[in-house]
Amino acid sequence: MRIRHVGSRSGDKIELQMTPMIDIVFQLLIFFLLTFRIVSMEGDFNIKMPRAAPREGLPDPNLVPPMLVRLQADAKGDIIGIRLNDTPYGTYDALRNRIIELVGSDTGPGSVQETAEVEFDCDYHLRYEETIKAITAVSGYVGDDGKPVKLVEKIKFKQATAPEGGSGS
Protein backbone atom coordinates (compact mmCIF):
# COMPACT_ATOMS: atom_id res chain seq x y z
CA MET A 1 0.00 0.00 0.00
CA ARG A 2 1.49 3.26 -1.09
CA ILE A 3 1.97 5.87 1.61
CA ARG A 4 2.25 9.43 0.55
CA HIS A 5 3.53 12.36 2.54
CA VAL A 6 1.30 15.35 2.07
CA GLY A 7 1.20 18.75 3.55
CA SER A 8 3.74 20.87 5.16
CA ARG A 9 6.97 19.42 6.43
CA SER A 10 6.21 20.57 9.90
CA GLY A 11 2.78 18.83 10.07
CA ASP A 12 3.98 15.42 8.60
CA LYS A 13 0.44 14.29 7.77
CA ILE A 14 0.40 10.79 6.28
CA GLU A 15 -2.39 9.94 3.83
CA LEU A 16 -3.06 6.30 3.02
CA GLN A 17 -4.02 5.42 -0.54
CA MET A 18 -7.07 3.27 0.14
CA THR A 19 -8.42 2.80 -3.38
CA PRO A 20 -6.36 -0.29 -4.47
CA MET A 21 -7.01 -2.03 -1.16
CA ILE A 22 -10.74 -1.43 -1.37
CA ASP A 23 -10.73 -2.67 -4.98
CA ILE A 24 -9.10 -5.94 -3.95
CA VAL A 25 -11.27 -6.34 -0.89
CA PHE A 26 -14.44 -5.94 -2.93
CA GLN A 27 -13.19 -8.39 -5.53
CA LEU A 28 -12.54 -10.93 -2.78
CA LEU A 29 -15.97 -10.29 -1.34
CA ILE A 30 -17.66 -10.80 -4.71
CA PHE A 31 -15.66 -14.00 -5.30
CA PHE A 32 -16.77 -15.50 -2.00
CA LEU A 33 -20.35 -14.35 -2.52
CA LEU A 34 -20.54 -16.03 -5.92
CA THR A 35 -18.85 -19.28 -4.88
CA PHE A 36 -20.78 -19.64 -1.65
CA ARG A 37 -23.25 -22.50 -1.71
CA ILE A 38 -25.10 -24.16 1.11
CA VAL A 39 -24.71 -27.88 0.52
CA SER A 40 -25.82 -30.88 2.50
CA MET A 41 -23.12 -33.03 3.98
CA GLU A 42 -22.26 -36.31 2.32
CA GLY A 43 -21.36 -39.64 3.82
CA ASP A 44 -20.29 -43.09 2.73
CA PHE A 45 -21.39 -46.67 3.12
CA ASN A 46 -18.32 -48.86 3.23
CA ILE A 47 -18.30 -51.99 1.14
CA LYS A 48 -15.36 -54.35 1.14
CA MET A 49 -15.62 -56.59 -1.88
CA PRO A 50 -12.46 -58.38 -3.00
CA ARG A 51 -12.62 -60.09 -6.37
CA ALA A 52 -10.42 -62.93 -5.15
CA ALA A 53 -13.07 -64.35 -2.85
CA PRO A 54 -16.41 -64.24 -4.60
CA ARG A 55 -19.13 -65.81 -2.61
CA GLU A 56 -21.91 -67.79 -4.14
CA GLY A 57 -25.08 -68.28 -2.19
CA LEU A 58 -25.37 -67.55 1.49
CA PRO A 59 -22.62 -66.56 3.92
CA ASP A 60 -21.01 -69.14 6.22
CA PRO A 61 -23.77 -70.36 8.54
CA ASN A 62 -21.26 -71.28 11.27
CA LEU A 63 -20.20 -67.70 11.81
CA VAL A 64 -23.27 -65.51 11.57
CA PRO A 65 -26.94 -65.81 10.80
CA PRO A 66 -26.98 -65.91 7.00
CA MET A 67 -28.71 -62.87 5.59
CA LEU A 68 -29.53 -62.43 1.95
CA VAL A 69 -31.61 -59.42 0.98
CA ARG A 70 -33.39 -59.72 -2.34
CA LEU A 71 -34.69 -56.52 -3.95
CA GLN A 72 -37.05 -56.89 -6.88
CA ALA A 73 -37.92 -54.10 -9.29
CA ASP A 74 -40.46 -53.48 -12.02
CA ALA A 75 -39.57 -52.27 -15.51
CA LYS A 76 -39.43 -48.65 -14.34
CA GLY A 77 -36.97 -49.51 -11.59
CA ASP A 78 -39.38 -49.06 -8.71
CA ILE A 79 -39.21 -51.51 -5.85
CA ILE A 80 -41.85 -54.24 -5.86
CA GLY A 81 -40.41 -56.75 -3.45
CA ILE A 82 -38.17 -56.84 -0.39
CA ARG A 83 -37.14 -60.24 0.86
CA LEU A 84 -34.82 -61.30 3.64
CA ASN A 85 -33.89 -64.96 3.33
CA ASP A 86 -36.98 -65.52 1.16
CA THR A 87 -39.31 -63.95 3.71
CA PRO A 88 -41.14 -60.94 2.20
CA TYR A 89 -41.26 -57.59 3.99
CA GLY A 90 -43.53 -54.76 2.97
CA THR A 91 -41.35 -51.83 3.93
CA TYR A 92 -37.77 -50.99 4.74
CA ASP A 93 -38.81 -50.31 8.33
CA ALA A 94 -40.12 -53.88 8.60
CA LEU A 95 -36.82 -55.13 7.19
CA ARG A 96 -34.91 -53.05 9.72
CA ASN A 97 -37.01 -54.38 12.60
CA ARG A 98 -36.24 -57.95 11.51
CA ILE A 99 -32.53 -57.14 11.31
CA ILE A 100 -32.69 -55.70 14.82
CA GLU A 101 -34.30 -58.95 16.01
CA LEU A 102 -31.56 -60.99 14.33
CA VAL A 103 -28.47 -59.10 15.41
CA GLY A 104 -29.86 -57.66 18.65
CA SER A 105 -28.19 -55.03 20.70
CA ASP A 106 -25.11 -57.10 21.39
CA THR A 107 -22.05 -55.01 20.58
CA GLY A 108 -18.34 -55.31 21.08
CA PRO A 109 -15.60 -57.63 19.81
CA GLY A 110 -16.89 -60.95 18.51
CA SER A 111 -20.52 -59.94 18.84
CA VAL A 112 -23.16 -61.00 16.35
CA GLN A 113 -23.45 -57.41 15.23
CA GLU A 114 -19.77 -57.26 14.40
CA THR A 115 -19.62 -60.52 12.48
CA ALA A 116 -23.01 -60.32 10.78
CA GLU A 117 -22.96 -59.83 7.05
CA VAL A 118 -25.68 -58.96 4.57
CA GLU A 119 -25.50 -59.78 0.90
CA PHE A 120 -27.68 -57.83 -1.51
CA ASP A 121 -29.17 -59.40 -4.59
CA CYS A 122 -30.76 -56.59 -6.60
CA ASP A 123 -32.53 -56.52 -9.92
CA TYR A 124 -30.49 -54.78 -12.61
CA HIS A 125 -33.04 -52.05 -13.26
CA LEU A 126 -33.67 -51.22 -9.62
CA ARG A 127 -33.16 -47.55 -8.96
CA TYR A 128 -30.01 -46.93 -6.97
CA GLU A 129 -31.98 -44.81 -4.52
CA GLU A 130 -33.93 -47.90 -3.44
CA THR A 131 -30.70 -49.85 -2.95
CA ILE A 132 -29.35 -47.12 -0.69
CA LYS A 133 -32.60 -47.19 1.30
CA ALA A 134 -32.21 -50.93 1.80
CA ILE A 135 -28.55 -50.55 2.76
CA THR A 136 -29.59 -47.85 5.24
CA ALA A 137 -32.23 -50.16 6.71
CA VAL A 138 -29.73 -52.93 7.44
CA SER A 139 -26.88 -50.61 8.44
CA GLY A 140 -28.66 -48.96 11.33
CA TYR A 141 -30.97 -46.22 12.34
CA VAL A 142 -31.00 -42.89 14.11
CA GLY A 143 -31.91 -43.29 17.76
CA ASP A 144 -34.21 -41.11 19.81
CA ASP A 145 -31.23 -39.11 20.98
CA GLY A 146 -30.30 -38.32 17.39
CA LYS A 147 -27.24 -40.55 17.42
CA PRO A 148 -26.85 -43.30 14.80
CA VAL A 149 -27.20 -46.87 16.04
CA LYS A 150 -25.26 -49.39 13.99
CA LEU A 151 -26.61 -52.77 13.01
CA VAL A 152 -24.78 -54.59 10.22
CA GLU A 153 -21.58 -53.07 8.89
CA LYS A 154 -20.47 -55.81 6.52
CA ILE A 155 -22.33 -55.38 3.27
CA LYS A 156 -21.79 -57.10 -0.03
CA PHE A 157 -23.40 -57.30 -3.42
CA LYS A 158 -24.15 -60.47 -5.24
CA GLN A 159 -22.51 -60.67 -8.64
CA ALA A 160 -24.18 -58.37 -11.15
CA THR A 161 -26.25 -60.01 -13.84
CA ALA A 162 -27.07 -58.92 -17.38
CA PRO A 163 -30.03 -56.56 -17.79
CA GLU A 164 -31.73 -58.84 -20.30
CA GLY A 165 -32.54 -61.31 -17.55
CA GLY A 166 -34.61 -58.76 -15.68
CA SER A 167 -33.83 -60.63 -12.49
CA GLY A 168 -30.85 -60.48 -10.21
CA SER A 169 -30.38 -64.21 -9.78
Binding site: N46, Y124, R127
Partner: protein, 149 residues
Protein backbone atom coordinates in the same frame (compact mmCIF):
# COMPACT_ATOMS: atom_id res chain seq x y z
CA UNK B 1 -20.86 6.63 5.63
CA UNK B 2 -19.84 9.70 7.46
CA UNK B 3 -18.61 12.55 5.31
CA UNK B 4 -16.61 15.31 6.85
CA UNK B 5 -15.77 18.68 5.46
CA UNK B 6 -12.05 19.18 5.87
CA UNK B 7 -9.59 21.89 5.20
CA UNK B 8 -9.96 25.36 3.99
CA UNK B 9 -10.26 24.28 0.32
CA UNK B 10 -13.55 22.52 0.98
CA UNK B 11 -12.35 18.94 0.15
CA UNK B 12 -14.79 16.23 1.27
CA UNK B 13 -13.21 13.26 3.04
CA UNK B 14 -15.15 10.07 3.55
CA UNK B 15 -14.59 8.01 6.69
CA UNK B 16 -14.06 4.56 5.24
CA UNK B 17 -13.19 2.75 8.45
CA UNK B 18 -16.65 1.27 9.27
CA UNK B 19 -17.16 0.11 5.70
CA UNK B 20 -13.76 -1.61 5.57
CA UNK B 21 -14.40 -3.19 8.96
CA UNK B 22 -17.69 -4.59 7.72
CA UNK B 23 -16.22 -5.80 4.44
CA UNK B 24 -13.39 -7.61 6.16
CA UNK B 25 -15.86 -9.29 8.48
CA UNK B 26 -17.89 -10.47 5.50
CA UNK B 27 -14.78 -11.83 3.80
CA UNK B 28 -13.72 -13.63 6.96
CA UNK B 29 -17.22 -15.12 7.24
CA UNK B 30 -17.20 -16.48 3.69
CA UNK B 31 -13.61 -17.71 3.97
CA UNK B 32 -14.49 -19.75 7.05
CA UNK B 33 -17.59 -21.23 5.46
CA UNK B 34 -16.19 -22.04 2.04
CA UNK B 35 -15.85 -25.78 1.57
CA UNK B 36 -13.35 -26.86 -1.02
CA UNK B 37 -13.92 -30.55 -0.26
CA UNK B 38 -17.22 -30.29 -2.11
CA UNK B 39 -15.47 -29.09 -5.24
CA UNK B 40 -15.28 -32.64 -6.56
CA UNK B 41 -19.02 -32.68 -7.00
CA UNK B 42 -20.57 -33.14 -10.38
CA UNK B 43 -23.69 -31.16 -11.21
CA UNK B 44 -25.17 -34.08 -13.14
CA UNK B 45 -25.25 -36.26 -10.06
CA UNK B 46 -28.08 -36.13 -7.56
CA UNK B 47 -27.09 -38.39 -4.72
CA UNK B 48 -29.62 -40.58 -2.94
CA UNK B 49 -30.57 -39.55 0.58
CA UNK B 50 -29.74 -41.50 3.70
CA UNK B 51 -30.14 -40.62 7.34
CA UNK B 52 -26.99 -42.60 8.14
CA UNK B 53 -24.78 -40.82 5.62
CA UNK B 54 -22.51 -38.95 7.99
CA UNK B 55 -19.32 -37.29 6.76
CA UNK B 56 -16.17 -39.29 7.58
CA UNK B 57 -14.25 -38.08 10.61
CA UNK B 58 -10.94 -38.14 8.76
CA UNK B 59 -10.49 -37.38 5.07
CA UNK B 60 -9.86 -40.35 2.82
CA UNK B 61 -6.33 -40.91 1.54
CA UNK B 62 -6.07 -40.33 -2.20
CA UNK B 63 -9.47 -41.70 -3.16
CA UNK B 64 -10.52 -42.53 -6.70
CA UNK B 65 -13.81 -40.73 -7.27
CA UNK B 66 -16.20 -42.08 -9.89
CA UNK B 67 -19.39 -40.22 -10.84
CA UNK B 68 -22.06 -42.45 -12.38
CA UNK B 69 -24.78 -40.52 -14.18
CA UNK B 70 -28.39 -41.51 -14.67
CA UNK B 71 -27.67 -42.48 -18.26
CA UNK B 72 -24.87 -44.82 -17.22
CA UNK B 73 -21.80 -42.84 -18.23
CA UNK B 74 -18.94 -42.28 -15.82
CA UNK B 75 -17.18 -39.01 -15.06
CA UNK B 76 -13.73 -39.42 -13.61
CA UNK B 77 -10.62 -37.27 -13.71
CA UNK B 78 -12.43 -34.66 -15.78
CA UNK B 79 -13.32 -37.14 -18.53
CA UNK B 80 -16.54 -38.83 -19.52
CA UNK B 81 -16.35 -42.50 -20.39
CA UNK B 82 -18.47 -45.62 -20.49
CA UNK B 83 -18.38 -48.22 -17.74
CA UNK B 84 -16.73 -50.68 -20.08
CA UNK B 85 -14.16 -48.11 -21.17
CA UNK B 86 -13.02 -47.11 -17.71
CA UNK B 87 -10.34 -49.76 -17.31
CA UNK B 88 -7.39 -47.67 -18.67
CA UNK B 89 -8.22 -44.80 -16.33
CA UNK B 90 -8.61 -47.09 -13.32
CA UNK B 91 -5.37 -48.91 -14.11
CA UNK B 92 -3.48 -45.64 -14.34
CA UNK B 93 -4.89 -44.35 -11.05
CA UNK B 94 -4.35 -47.70 -9.34
CA UNK B 95 -0.69 -47.88 -10.39
CA UNK B 96 -0.06 -44.28 -9.34
CA UNK B 97 -1.30 -45.06 -5.85
CA UNK B 98 0.69 -48.28 -5.64
CA UNK B 99 3.81 -46.33 -6.62
CA UNK B 100 3.14 -43.89 -3.81
CA UNK B 101 3.25 -46.76 -1.31
CA UNK B 102 -0.44 -47.49 -0.81
CA UNK B 103 -1.65 -51.06 -0.51
CA UNK B 104 -4.04 -52.09 -3.25
CA UNK B 105 -6.78 -53.16 -0.87
CA UNK B 106 -6.65 -49.85 0.98
CA UNK B 107 -7.21 -47.59 -2.02
CA UNK B 108 -10.65 -46.04 -1.48
CA UNK B 109 -13.02 -45.85 -4.43
CA UNK B 110 -15.80 -43.31 -3.92
CA UNK B 111 -18.83 -44.11 -6.04
CA UNK B 112 -21.10 -41.12 -6.48
CA UNK B 113 -24.01 -42.55 -8.41
CA UNK B 114 -27.15 -40.69 -9.42
CA UNK B 115 -30.19 -41.67 -7.37
CA UNK B 116 -32.05 -42.82 -10.48
CA UNK B 117 -29.16 -44.81 -11.93
CA UNK B 118 -29.66 -48.54 -12.27
CA UNK B 119 -28.27 -50.63 -9.46
CA UNK B 120 -26.97 -53.08 -12.05
CA UNK B 121 -24.77 -50.37 -13.52
CA UNK B 122 -23.37 -49.56 -10.10
CA UNK B 123 -22.59 -53.24 -9.64
CA UNK B 124 -21.03 -53.33 -13.10
CA UNK B 125 -18.83 -50.37 -12.18
CA UNK B 126 -17.79 -52.10 -8.95
CA UNK B 127 -17.01 -55.20 -10.97
CA UNK B 128 -14.72 -53.22 -13.32
CA UNK B 129 -12.89 -51.86 -10.29
CA UNK B 130 -12.54 -55.35 -8.85
CA UNK B 131 -11.01 -56.53 -12.13
CA UNK B 132 -7.86 -54.52 -11.44
CA UNK B 133 -7.69 -55.25 -7.71
CA UNK B 134 -9.71 -52.49 -6.07
CA UNK B 135 -11.92 -53.67 -3.24
CA UNK B 136 -12.50 -50.80 -0.83
CA UNK B 137 -15.67 -49.09 -2.03
CA UNK B 138 -17.52 -46.12 -0.57
CA UNK B 139 -21.08 -45.66 -1.74
CA UNK B 140 -21.75 -41.99 -1.30
CA UNK B 141 -25.11 -40.61 -0.22
CA UNK B 142 -26.36 -37.24 0.88
CA UNK B 143 -27.19 -36.74 4.51
CA UNK B 144 -30.92 -36.75 5.13
CA UNK B 145 -32.18 -34.72 8.03
CA UNK B 146 -34.46 -36.98 10.05
CA UNK B 147 -38.01 -35.70 10.11
CA UNK B 148 -37.90 -34.22 6.61
CA UNK B 149 -38.77 -37.46 4.89
Amino acid sequence: MRIQRKGPQGIFEADLTPMIDMTFQLIAFFMVLINFSQSEQNQLIQLPLSELAKPPRTPLDFPITLHLTKSGSVFAGGMEMSIDGIRPYLTQEYRARLDSGMAGEDIPVIIRAHKDAETGQVQKLISRCQDIGLQNFKLRAKEEVVGNT
